[in-house]
């Protein structure tokens, strides 16, 4: 393992630097593309606010548009926005009366907490199930576990979430029905942590149920593939007991696709959270983005897209690095 991890530092830094340079135009392209694309949606924030008010006068709406800067020519709005962006100012969300960056930073950790916990659980269980499946391939544990994980992947996530609420919250009263915290009492310290943890159980279970399939299958096929390789067969031929083989050689090499997958999933944290945050009233970024679309809060939506693209790219970079470190055959170019 130590040998595989060695890599000349200069190359790593150069690689990172190169990737960063490659990546900046992508993020910029995303922002520019969406800046114009989002404006194709019919209606604007003034119409949303007037709609929520139940009625409005044309003067009121004109005043709103002036407030929001929507009455300026598009080119000017664009240059103003890009100028702000280069100062890392993501603009102001009029619908939420808060700067976009602050809004994102308050909500992003909530989403991250949920998604990362689900990923961790899914990876852990997936590796376990996959290893068992591969080891007992073709026999009943393989069948049962594969079926279980396939069901998890195939069942719509929101249905699982709602059914879990019905069972565990409403019928059994074991767990809270939604939200992130108990709002009747204010908990502090360890009690607060426990409170959030309690609220996390159902959403994390729902999400993990979905992701487990991926990791089970990945682990299973990766392990099966590696089992056929020469050096594993040699070890078996040498009479080394199966369990040490499984753990030392096979598992380690199956980690590669798992790491890749995890990196990819990390990058798409946002999408999975939209549905879960809706069902469980979890105050996260997924729901923030979704609402922003229907409130035509373009600043906020652009900010979220920018932020999440940034995250994807960072996690891709990290994945590449880890991948390169783990597999000495891959050249860091």
């Amino acid at each position: 393992m130590a040998r595989a991890l060695q890599l000349p530092e200069g190359r790593v830094l150069r690689y990172l630097g190169l990737r960063v340079v490659q990546v900046v135009p992508t993020i910029l392209a995303i922002v520019v593309l969406n800046f114009f694309f989002l404006r194709l949606a019919p209606g604007d924030l003034a119409e949303v606010m007037a709609g929520e008010a139940g009625s409005a006068t044309p003067e009121y709406m004109a005043m709103l548009r002036q407030q929001f800067g929507l009455d300026e020519p598009l080119a000017i709005q664009f240059f103003k926005y890009m100028g702000q962006l280069f100062q890392l100012n993501l603009g102001y969300s009029f619908r939420n009366s808060m700067p976009v960056l602050d809004l994102i930073l308050t909500r992003a950790p909530n989403t991250a907490l949920l998604m990362l916990s689900s990923l961790v659980l899914a990876v852990a269980l997936g590796i376990l199930f996959g290893a068992i499946s591969a080891q007992w391939r073709g026999r009943w544990p393989d069948g049962v576990l594969s079926a279980f994980s396939t069901i998890g992947f195939a069942t719509p996530l929101f249905w699982v979430g709602l059914m879990l609420i019905v069972l565990f919250s409403v019928e059994l009263r074991w767990l809270p029905a939604g939200g992130m915290r108990d709002l009747q009492q204010v908990h502090t310290g360890l009690a607060a942590v426990g409170d959030v943890a309690l609220h996390m159980v159902l959403p994390v279970l729902s999400l993990a149920f979905f992701y487990i399939a991926i990791y089970t299958r990945l682990t299973r096929s990766a392990m099966l593939e590696v089992q056929e390789l020469d050096f594993v067969r040699t070890a078996r031929a040498k009479g080394i007991a199966p369990l040490p083989i499984a753990v030392r050689h096979v598992l380690r090499n199956a980690l590669l696709p798992i790491v890749t997958m995890t990196g990819l999933q990390l990058g798409t944290l946002l999408s999975g959270s939209v549905v879960i945050e809706t069902v469980f009233a979890w105050p996260g970024m997924g729901r923030l983005a979704f609402d922003a679309v229907f409130q035509r809060d373009i600043n906020l939506l652009l900010g979220v897209l920018f932020f999440s693209s940034f995250l994807v790219i960072v996690s891709n970079l990290a994945t590449d690095l880890v991948y390169a470190l783990l597999d000495p055959r891959i050249d860091v170019r």
Partner: protein, 305 residues
């Protein structure tokens, strides 16, 4: 939330570095057919899919009429009425009829979205991998742009802009799923362009596009087929999620829209979401099995059980 098609493959294609060329037996049609029939998973998946497709195709013959018609008392529970074996929904529509007709729309959405995604992905990936150089750079950047955007959020944006309908849903899903296919095809094209038979064709003076069409694509097709089946499954799930979020097409009945309308009555009439949810699960599982089986068949490394 869409499942990345690459996860189904044992050789996970590295996201940035091209896969190191690995030795591979040439695939012959006769051996494909034989291996396919021997693969239990591929068979099981195909049978399941055939059932669903059959229902979809012959819906009008089995249940003539309009599935959206309000024919009976609302909220009849399944298995309580001979006339309406799976019960009725809150507007008195027959659920069994709905399920069968919905198969059409859900499958159509799945196939269309996956088809469009594959088409786009193949074009981008083949051109990118084959030509390399600046073509590759530009096309890869474009692919990255679409890949980096959060998929469900962007689908929602597209559907919101174009207003909800089957076509906007198909377009939205396709636009967010093609990068995976492009990556796969690019990796294959990169691998194949230096192969001997391609070199030979170049020497013989064959044009670039003919080479791509006749030499590269046919050999790159197997991961694409597997990815395609997964894409269909994930498109069906995405359509269900969109309906749940209120973005379905109101003029057609799909499994997703049935779940969406049953969402509010989850507590009292949970069969309204359970039944179409089950239909989706079974179809997605069938597609999964098919994809799995195809993968086993097309990848000669893994011995079939």
């Amino acid at each position: 939330m869409s499942l990345d098609a690459t996860d189904i493959l044992p050789r996970a294609a590295a996201p940035s570095a091209p896969a190191a060329p690995k030795p591979r037996r040439a695939v012959r049609t006769s051996s494909f057919g034989y291996r396919f029939l021997r693969s239990r998973t591929a068979l099981a998946g195909s049978i399941g899919l055939a059932l669903v497709a059959g229902a979809a195709l012959f819906a009008a013959q089995i249940f003539p009429g309009d599935p959206l018609d309000m024919v009976a008392r609302p909220f009849i529970w399944p298995f309580t009425s001979a006339e309406y074996p799976l019960g009725t929904d809150m507007l008195g529509r027959d659920i069994l009829v709905g399920l069968v007709y919905a198969a059409r729309v859900s499958l159509a959405v799945g196939l269309a979205a996956a088809g469009l995604a594959v088409a786009l992905g193949v074009v981008f990936g083949a051109l990118s991998g084959y030509f390399g150089g600046w073509v590759d750079q530009v096309l890869t950047r474009i692919t990255e742009v679409f890949q980096t955007m959060p998929p469900l959020v962007f689908v929602v944006v597209v559907v919101a802009i174009l207003t909800p309908s089957v076509s906007s849903i198909v377009l939205g899903i396709a636009v967010t799923s093609w990068p995976q296919v492009a990556r796969l095809v690019r990796a294959e094209a990169l691998r194949l362009r230096d192969a001997e038979f391609v070199q030979a064709a170049r020497v013989m003076g064959m044009g670039h596009f003919r080479i791509i069409l006749t030499h590269i694509l046919p050999n790159a097709i197997s991961p694409v087929v597997v990815a395609g089946s997964i894409l269909v499954a994930s498109a069906i799930l995405t359509e269900a999620a969109l309906s749940f979020l209120g973005l379905g097409d109101p003029n057609l009945i799909s499994w997703g829209s049935m779940i969406g309308s049953g969402r509010e009555v989850l507590r009292t009439a949970w069969y309204m979401t359970a039944l179409p949810g089950l239909a989706i699960s079974l179809t997605v599982m069938a597609l999964n099995l098919l994809g799995n089986g195809l993968n086993d068949v097309l990848n000669p490394r893994v011995s079939l059980t």
